[in-house]
């Protein structure tokens, strides 16, 4: 190829790519979603988008898979801070509220709900526990539950039966007993996935079971060094050390369900978001139950799990027209409708987030056939808010690092490590008081 031809090609390439602005008459909604699931999330979203576009001519949904939850949050923040346009709607962790509200990137769903004819009916259909993280301290609703989950206990019912246990553990003492009975050289009795960068969520289950969540409704308060918080992390640590029912330092998030399916773990704590995958993949009877209660007491007081998963957020810096915002809200309402929630819940195992969805097909019959689907929903009555505060990312980072250092044995004195972390956290939150 001659020098000139290469030069021309190079120029052409430049012109083609730089000038590739498309002319669109439709309103295009850029929709970012996380979590590549083996169940083909993209295919599912494409189906939803097709349904929506058929019902709403003139609106086009541009779905973009955006990686893990962390990737999604980071990419959107980076994009917006760099002056980029960002998405119109995104599924992000329900706890990302303050990270985006602080910067003025998102607008409250409350405005749209208030403008709806049946706004109250729409919002009161959602399970209250799933609304907790989407509402700020003033009571304003910011985001709408979409793919919500809680941690639940999965157990290999065949293995438990072999060892003479007909029912799953309901409190920590039974949990330890059964886990020890089922631990062999080739098999772990219990895997709690606190390794892999995000221990805070699983840890919160234990903190709640010990009687004190680490957050409240006040985004300037965090309770990370209370006696309950310390006792909870010490218990989790002991699973891998003194009690010897799992690996020291905890199991990795991704490996846990795989080990469970391969019969190499008798019980695991994991997200309900994995229910369908596990039910489909297991060649043994899969049992699902509430997370066992902690010392806060039986009869429900010691049950507890944080909620988790993703909400729908609406992005607007004030530049979007009413027409666009209207289209955006239609898409949000569509995705959170009982029909879609029913379909999404049955396909993945995420908790369909409104009550009506559970009476809607396909979830109604799926839940009838597999009672496991209802467990997470019923556990919601004991569920509490997931960790969220001002400066969420930084503070969550401090908590994660501190938990990791305690769980891996680097900080032997849990109390001291958590006191130090609390001091750093209070220093940051003081900026918001």
């Amino acid at each position: 190829m001659s020098f000139y031809r290469i030069a021309c090609l190079a120029l052409l390439l430049f012109a083609m790519t730089a000038g590739a602005a498309l002319a669109q008459d439709d309103i295009v909604i850029d929709f970012y979603f996380p979590s590549a699931t083996a169940n083909d999330a993209e295919g599912i979203f494409q189906r939803y988008a097709d349904m929506f576009e058929e019902e709403n001519p003139g609106i086009t949904i541009n779905s973009v898979f955006s990686g893990s939850y962390t990737d999604t949050r980071n990419t959107i923040l980076t994009e917006l801070q760099g002056g980029g346009a960002g998405p119109d709607v995104a599924v992000m962790l329900s706890i990302d509220l303050y990270s985006f509200a602080e910067e003025g990137y998102i607008v409250p769903a409350q405005t749209f709900i208030d403008a709806m004819a049946d706004g109250d009916a729409y919002i009161s259909d959602f399970f209250p526990a799933l609304m907790a993280n989407g509402v700020d301290e003033m009571g304003t609703v910011w985001s709408i539950p979409f793919q919500r989950s809680t941690p639940i206990l999965y157990y290999n019912a065949d293995l438990l039966a072999e060892a003479g246990y007909d029912s799953p553990p309901t409190n920590n003492a039974e949990l330890v007993e059964i886990a020890q009975a089922l631990t062999t050289d080739e098999r772990d009795g219990l895997l709690v996935p606190v390794a892999g960068g995000f221990p805070i969520w699983m840890y919160q289950s234990f903190a709640i079971a010990y009687g004190q969540n680490i957050v409240s409704d006040d985004p300037t308060e965090v309770y990370f060094n209370t006696p309950e918080a310390v006792a909870a992390v010490e218990f989790v640590r002991s699973l891998g050390t003194d009690l010897g029912v799992g690996p020291a330092g905890g199991a990795a998030w991704g490996d846990t369900p795989v080990a469970f399916l391969a019969g190499q773990a008798a019980m695991i704590y994991h997200t309900t978001g994995n229910l369908s995958r596990i039910l489909d993949g297991a060649d043994f009877e899969v049992g699902v139950w509430y997370l066992p209660s902690g010392p806060a007491g039986d009869d429900g007081a010691g049950y507890g799990s944080p909620t988790g998963g993703g909400n729908l957020y609406i992005f607007d810096d004030g530049s979007k027209s009413d027409e666009e915002l209207d289209a955006i809200w239609k898409w949000v309402v569509f995705l959170s409708s009982p029909e879609i929630q029913s379909d999404w819940g049955a396909t993945t195992g995420y908790i369909a987030s409104n009550a009506t969805a559970w009476e809607t097909e396909p979830l109604a019959s799926r839940a009838m056939e597999y009672p496991q689907y209802g467990v997470a929903r019923d556990q919601l009555q004991y569920a509490d808010k997931e960790f969220s505060s001002y400066a969420t990312i930084t503070i969550q980072g401090i908590i994660n690092k501190t938990l990791e250092s305690i769980l891996t044995g680097e900080s032997e004195d849990a109390q001291a490590a958590m006191d130090a972390a609390q001091a750093q956290i209070d220093g940051i939150l003081a900026e918001y008081k």
Partner: protein
């Protein structure tokens, strides 16, 4: 001595090959049978299920095309910019030449890879976020290429240029017929190094693009790595990894000598 050498050689080669071999084996095992279950080498059956799932999760042919456009787009522009600059620095005398060369060499000292944050801002200022140009533009100038070709051009006898000038050749004809033609091996080396390093690029494409339609293979693979809630499923991950690494491995098998020589050249400054 000879025996020690061949034993060492064999042991190292096997250790180095194990990851590749098991990537292939695991990609062909049923997902529910990790290597810890049953025969460590071969599962109860051979299956292409993992490949099918990997194809459902990411549009690999699109990613392939994107990677090809990315590396080709970088290389084509580089060839032009590098040739021009290399000629100027090799054969022309002008005010500030050494200083300007030093400025260009700053690229080797402050590689754009470590300037993620600011380069991101720069791309946004230019309004190029999430475009193919944004992917390529930081690499369009190459100090390494300028150095390599400047060195090569200097070894071209000056008499060839003088003869061409007497025949009435203009500047671009001189560059093309005298210098480019006499520096083909250097171009080949530069091209191989450029292509293989950009083919493997991840952080920058990951940060600067959003749309699947322009994202390269490495970013597609990241999607398989981050199957968040569902847990790590190694069969499909290994299948995806093989899909991504296969072309370079095959290219290397075909052009081993050229690769080795080009990479060796990339170090000689």
């Amino acid at each position: 001595m000879r025996q020690i050498a061949s034993v060492t050689k064999t042991v190292i080669a096997i250790l180095f090959l194990i990851p590749l071999i098991f990537t292939l084996l695991v990609s062909l095992r049923p997902e529910t049978e990790p290597v810890t279950k049953g025969n460590i080498f071969i599962g109860s059956e051979l299956t292409f299920e993992n490949y099918q799932r990997a194809f459902v999760i990411a549009p690999w042919s699109l990613h392939y095309l994107n990677s090809i456009i990315f590396v080709a787009g970088v290389l084509l522009v580089q060839l032009v910019t590098v040739t021009c600059a290399a000629y100027a620095f090799a054969r022309m005398r002008f005010l500030g030449r050494d200083l300007l060369l030093m400025v260009i060499l700053l690229q080797l000292m402050i590689p754009s890879g470590v300037l993620l944050v600011q380069n991101f801002r720069m791309i946004n200022t230019l309004g190029l976020f999430d475009t193919r140009v944004a992917l390529m533009i930081p690499y369009w100038g190459s100090a390494f290429g300028v150095l390599l070709l400047r060195q090569t051009f200097r070894e071209v006898p000056i008499e060839l240029e003088e003869a061409a000038r007497i025949d009435g050749a203009n500047l671009f004809q001189v560059i093309r017929h005298v210098y480019v033609t006499n520096a083909i091996p250097a171009y080949l080396a530069f091209a191989l190094v450029s292509v293989s390093s950009h083919w493997n690029e991840f952080l920058w494409p990951f940060i600067i693009t959003r749309s699947e339609g322009i994202r390269p293979l490495t970013v597609g693979l990241n999607k398989l790595i981050k199957t968040t809630d569902q847990g790590a499923f190694y069969g499909q991950l290994m299948a995806g990894t093989l899909i991504v690494i296969a072309p370079l491995v095959i290219l290397f098998l075909l052009f081993q000598r050229q690769f080795v020589e080009s990479f060796a050249r990339s170090g000689i400054r």
